[in-house]
């Protein structure tokens, strides 16, 4: 069993599939870090359940990537044997959990995008394998969106302290939303939903939630990107070091 990093073929199709898989894995891993630390038992279960859904979605997409790539790479190879620069996830999903408000705002911003992305991909994808994954995932993402939206409303429309923290979280994470809407590579038209086409629906969902939460939408401004090109934050390096440590230190370990 190798411990050195794998080399992944670089095509627009693989970049797209691995980017989506990495989003799900990285966010799932971040949420799993709440296990044992969540503010209450019900929320602990909820975050762990959502993490499980996301990691399940990542597994399905990595398996598809392996099939497309045809080099014999497994789901685990993609998750554990790639370096930070080969991960193509959005910067938004790798942001550290912070306080509960940061976690919930991150969930709202991502779920309000990925829920319609899965739905449209399930309806329109020309790849039956991706459409099958999307049809399952969109049922899960609908629950994730509702869960996060209900919490954000409670935080924003709660106490002065919860409102202050929710507003601060929104300001902190807002510069990372622009990257979600990078248009689909033209050579992949028909494969999946074009993120650029989902902006209006995302705006409507987020505006409705913020309105009910009595939170102001941050001003549009400069947007940070780079995750899709493999340029990640320092915190991401720490996260994958922890995530990959066991697999790299004990190659082939099972339990």
């Amino acid at each position: 069993m190798p411990t050195t990093s794998i080399r992944v073929a670089d095509t627009p199709l693989l970049r797209e599939i691995l980017g989506r898989a990495d989003d799900a894995l990285v966010l799932g891993h971040r949420l799993s870090q709440w296990t044992g630390h969540a503010p209450m038992l019900e929320e602990e279960l909820a975050l762990a359940n959502i993490a499980l859904d996301l990691i399940g979605q990542a597994r399905a997409l990595y398996a598809l990537a392996g099939e497309i790539e045809g080099l014999g790479h497994s789901e685990d190879d993609y998750a554990y044997l790639r370096d930070s620069r080969d991960f193509r996830n959005l910067l938004l999903v790798e942001q550290p959990n912070g306080d509960f408000a940061i976690t919930i705002v991150r969930q709202v911003l991502y779920a309000a995008f990925i829920d319609p992305w899965w739905r449209e991909t399930a309806r329109r994808s020309t790849d039956s394998r991706l459409a099958a994954i999307a049809a399952k995932a969109e049922k899960e993402s609908a629950y994730h969106l509702r869960h996060a939206a209900e919490w954000l409303i409670r935080l924003g429309d709660g106490t002065d302290e919860s409102h202050r923290r929710a507003a601060a979280a929104l300001e902190q994470l807002w510069p990372f939303v622009g990257e979600m809407f990078a248009p689909l590579d033209p050579s992949l038209a028909g494969l999946c939903a074009d993120p650029a086409s989902l902006h209006a629906e995302w705006d409507a969902t987020v505006n409705e939630v913020l309105d009910q939460a009595t939170l102001a939408r941050p001003a549009e401004g400069w947007m940070q990107n780079g995750g899709r090109a493999g340029r990640h934050s320092e915190q991401f390096g720490h996260m994958i070091a922890e995530m990959q440590h066991l697999a790299r230190s004990h190659p082939g370990a099972t339990w």
Binding site: N49, D53, G56, Q57, A60, I133, A135, A142, L145, E208
Partner: protein
Amino acid sequence: MVMTVMDHNNLRQRAWDAAAAVVDPEIPVLTIADLGVLRDVEVHDDGVTVAITPTYTGCPAMNMIAVEVETALARAGIANGRVRQVMSPAWTTDWMSEAGRRKLAEYGIAPPPKAGGRRALFGAGETVTCPRCGSSDTERISEFGSTACKSLRRCRSCAEPFDQFKCH
């Protein structure tokens, strides 16, 4: 050896019956046939393949169910029993059998509402009956429960908390 049509159908039925008796490891009153997780049995010249579908993409019970199906086939004297996972069509709680829904309620878990489909983001919640006292005056505590497929509720009439199988 060439199988006759009758041999073929007979083998398929035996394999189906063996697989259908496997229970969900997390809700042991339900079989995988009750849940609609068991999708198909294919007979080949050299064995059979049982198709199962996950309830949720990350359902940790799938690997265990696959092993139990292989064991059940071996116990039924069927050689070369294999299991494959299928994703499409996506599993829905509408596939749960009537017997399954009844068994769930008797076990203390409220069965999923029928043909629920997608709910609006802020739509009205569904009406769920308490499996203990039958009251429909119940409230949701959390949409995520002890397993991926269940949510947590509480009955306002008898004050008992209970699990509900989520509509999916």
